[in-house]
């Protein structure tokens, strides 16, 4: 599947802005973005419900511009599932095959097959309103897959399910996809969903794809502040580049009252304004100044990659705790610490003075 410079305008509003994208056969590709980022519009153009204002979409090398939705080798699973309420499960799934004028036995066989794959084989005669949310989701998936599309589009496939069911279904989706080898394009606003499902993902913002990569790439090496902030949580500090060497950089962050030392080079003009992004789980919290990890620590504990502050909030999440630490410069830093021990009487608590530090390899330096 190839998208070339696709733009879609609704009046003055540019919903999708010059997007180019390649998705290979057998991939699960997630388009992740907030509401209004253009991800759904892009998906609807793939399905043929919207025509691009400019640009082209190819599926298997074939230009889709002139091809109506009902002739495309593409099927879609709708966010609302869009099951036909007046038809049974069997009729719903058979609908697509009936349009291909297949024989009765062939249709029955393929419907049975796909419903077995999604484990809905015993619900043939039910109507959609007699099914639970999770069951409807499976029927919708079966209905979209039964036509053996080259490309399956999934619009927020798990959004309507509760949390436990969602986690379970995620892995089932991956299994089914591997079993059938169909290319999946998933649109979601849920980053967790995108991370677990996708082999690659694209982050969308304001109609543009900001970054494409594997979930690890996107999380650990975000390309822009938007991506870093959108995926997971992050502490972002604005700073000035004061030393720019091929194998390390130093950045002075006024709002942190500290210098950040990063053990890899970046490409940017000296004295440029850059942003340092550190994930909360990559930060340590200690009562004593940490041993020198990098650079030089001042006697009062201030120095590179370490900041002194006071614990203001603790949120206990079970598997981990979130600490909000207020630095002397007034910034709040978010730190997550896994709760390894069950009885931790000496756990850092409210209003304690602590040292916040991180390894020189942890921060990501962003220039946009």
């Amino acid at each position: 599947m190839r998208i070339e410079n696709v733009t879609k305008r609704f009046g003055d509003f540019v919903a999708v802005n010059d997007v180019s994208l390649n998705v290979s056969r057998g991939e699960i590709f997630c388009l992740l973005g907030g509401s209004g980022s253009g991800k759904t519009t892009l998906l609807r153009m793939l399905a043929g419900f919207e025509t691009p204002t400019s640009g082209k979409i190819y599926i298997d090398g074939q230009d889709m511009s002139e091809i109506a939705p009902y002739d495309r080798p593409v099927n879609m699973m709708f966010q609302s599932y869009a099951l036909f309420p007046h038809m049974t499960v069997e009729k719903n799934v058979a609908f697509g095959l009936e349009q291909e004028h297949l024989g009765r036995d062939e249709i029955r066989r393929r419907v049975g097959e796909i419903l077995d794959i999604v484990k809905m084989g015993q619900f043939l005669t039910r109507k959609p309103h007699q099914l639970s949310g999770g069951q409807r989701q499976r029927v919708a998936l079966a209905r979209a897959l039964v036509k053996r599309p080259k490309l399956l589009l999934l619009d927020e496939p798990l959004a309507a399910l509760d949390r436990k069911l969602r986690e379970h279904t995620q892995f089932e989706l991956i299994n089914i996809q591997e079993q059938l080898g169909v290319t999946f394009i998933v649109v979601t606003h849920d980053q967790e969903e995108a991370m677990t499902l996708s082999s690659r993902m694209g982050v969308m913002d304001h109609g543009q794809i900001v970054q494409v990569g594997t979930p690890t790439d996107i999380y650990e090496f975000p390309a822009t502040r938007f991506v870093a902030d959108f995926i997971g949580s992050v502490n972002m500090f604005e700073g000035k580049l004061i030393e720019d060497e091929p194998d390390y950089v130093r950045i002075r962050c006024e709002e942190l009252g500290a210098v950040v030392y990063v053990n890899h080079g970046i490409s940017s003009a000296p004295d440029a304004t850059v942003w340092v992004a550190v994930r909360p789980e990559k930060i340590n919290l200690t009562r004593e100044p940490p041993p020198v990890a990098s650079g030089v620590h001042q006697p009062d504990g201030a120095g590179e990659n370490v900041v002194r502050g006071v614990v203001k909030e603790i949120a206990y999440m079970g598997d981990m705790s979130i600490y909000l630490v207020k630095t002397e410069s007034g910034r709040t830093i978010r730190v997550t610490i896994p709760n390894v021990a069950r009885h931790a009487d000496d756990r850092i608590t409210w209003d304690e003075t602590v040292y916040v530090s991180w390894h020189a390899a942890s921060p990501v330096v962003l220039t946009r």
């Binding site: 399905a47 043929g48 419900f49 109506a68 939705p69 009902y70 002739d71 593409v74 099927n75 879609m76 709708f78 609302s80 869009a82 099951l83 036909f84 309420p85 007046h86 609908f95 697509g96 349009q99 291909e100 109507k127 309103h129 209905r143 979209a144 036509k147």
Partner: protein, 286 residues
Amino acid sequence: MGIPTLWLIVLFLIPFVIVFKISFSEVRLAMPPYAPLFEWLNGKLVAVKLNFGNYSFLFTDALYVSSYLYSLKVAAVSTVLCLLLGYPMAYAIARSGPTSRNVLLMLIVLPFWTSFLLRVYAWIGLLKSNGVINNVLMSIGVIHEPITMLQTDFSVYIGIVYSYLPFMILPLYSNLEKHDLTLIEAAADLGARPFTIFRRITLPQSMPGIIAGSLLVFIPAVGEYVIPSLLGRTDQLMIGRVLSDEFFENRDWPVASSVAILMLALLVVPIMLFQHFEKRTLEARK
């Protein structure tokens, strides 16, 4: 017992019982023009005079049977015509933008602002031999002799379809407007062409609207009195006309009442059908 029950008792059940009672009495020249069913003497019931002759009379005189059949035919044809005209209109309104939708709905309801009788009279002016339509057609040379349109089946259909069309459009609209448009996209996505989508998705889902609209047209059309009287044939009466003639011309209230009761009995069938479908849609929505 709520207000609806009270409403039904006062406005439907009591009048029905009265008419039902009259339908079994004997006609007489008096005030009221029928004999009482129960004869009382010193506070004791001494005799019940039940007369089934009114009903059997209806089946012996060909006038009544043919009027019933004609009424059913006219109502059925008008209902189908209303459906064929009203469905596309309701569909177009339901799919138009919010502003134009309100304007269009307004236009559907607008004729109700003038008297029903006046509007039917206006059709006489349009349809009669030296009326507007004939005059226009003759002056532009399409026809040379005026076409007889008034007092034909044609004029009755025109009158009924014209008057009852809103009752078809409004329930259809309120059904079509609620349709989930993603179902149509889903059907297209699964390879269905527009006509198939209409036949297999839109039409089945609009059945409740079609049934509601059809009954709202069919039931009053069967008993329609004004339109056939003003526009209709003189050689073939509709049952509403027969009913009023029996009451007001012949002053035979018992026969008139039995005509009314029988008409009601005929209409119970479609009403039961309606109830059945309503129940099914309610269940489907659960």
